[in-house]
Amino acid sequence: MKVVLEGKRFRLRTLVRADADTVYKYAKDPAISRYTFVPRPYPKKCAYDFIRRNHIKARKGLNIVLGIELKETGEIIGLVGLEQINKRSKNAELGYWLAKKYWGNGYICEAVRLTVKYGFRKMKLVRIYARVMHPNIASARLLEKVGFTYEGRMRKVTFKNGRWLDDLRYGMLREEFI
């Protein structure tokens, strides 16, 4: 299923194989993998595998991952998605990353708002949640700004770059979505 969500400066759309080049170009930045599950090192094969894997999962209804396509250039500058879609509990996990050179322009905020709206209105989800690796303050602030509620902190969940990181948990219920 093809999904297109129109924003002001970008559109969110299903990834195609040809996007692997730009996904690779931006995802290999250590600033991206620092607090995400984007692998490091990030060979080009990772981008192809990621896109293929997502098509399979999307067909099974397990996730929807969309590229953030800048209208001006047609380039994919980041990803946003709903993953771990649970049809029974109507829950899904929100995830995202944005190329570093586009940080600080409100792109990801808008992309998350569009995705959350799609999740609650079209997919009829009851809850959308997100995990932030502490101390990724930028991501935590973003979620709070969009209206997510802080639900707790799981200690020492992820071993990354030689240390243990806690998970900050955020959630939004359908009735909290304005």
């Binding site: 809850r127 707790g152 969940v157 948990r169």
Partner: protein, 182 residues
């Protein structure tokens, strides 16, 4: 060699086909399925399928599942397991249930202590987590008594018996575990 964890009132050991009768007798109470994924009604076939399933999960190395054997009778009165075992991040989740007529005697506390000791000492995990459907107060109290800390409350995350439940998320770190005893 089969894993065997010895306690005062109980022994934790793998379950076998011959345990199906006692597993079924203890699991079939409606109270067991209320806040767990144990099916209800529970029949002997469920117990056989469960025992068969355990072998498969264990082969995939993601689960350590043990029966809680009453030392006096040899009967399996409940189940405790470590699952979602994540070797890279050295953590796992613990889950359990105990037959209702055995509640209130510290059996589950003892089983949990034995399992945590194994998880931290033998498996060298750094974190064990547990999820409790709110309002399963008995289970929450058991975890707190064992030294777990309430870390998060995830709202409406589980749909169970036609209701949405919050998950109370508990965690215990290796340095918080008291080896001394229950």
């Amino acid at each position: 060699m089969d894993l065997r964890l010895e306690g005062k009132q109980i022994v934790l050991r793998p379950v076998h086909r011959s345990d199906a009768g006692s597993i079924c007798a203890n699991a079939k109470d409606r109270e067991i399925g209320r806040f767990t994924h144990v099916p209800h009604p529970y029949q002997i076939k469920n117990a056989y399928d469960f025992i068969k399933g355990v072998r498969r999960w264990e082969r995939q190395k993601q689960v350590v599942l043990l029966g809680i054997e009453n030392r006096e009778t040899g009967e399996i009165v409940g189940i405790i397991n470590l699952f979602h075992i994540d070797r890279k991040n050295r953590r796992a989740e613990v889950g359990y249930w105990l037959g209702k007529k055995h509640w209130g005697r510290g059996i589950m506390s003892e089983a949990l202590h034995l399992m945590l000791d194994y998880a931290f000492r033998e498996m060298k995990l750094v974190r064990v987590s547990a999820k409790v459907f709110h309002p399963n107060t008995a289970s929450a109290m058991l975890l707190e008594k064992a030294g777990f800390k309430l870390e998060a409350r995830l709202r409406k995350i589980a749909f169970h018996h036609r209701h949405w439940y919050d998950d109370l998320c508990y965690g215990i770190l290796r340095e918080e575990f008291r080896r001394g005893g229950v």
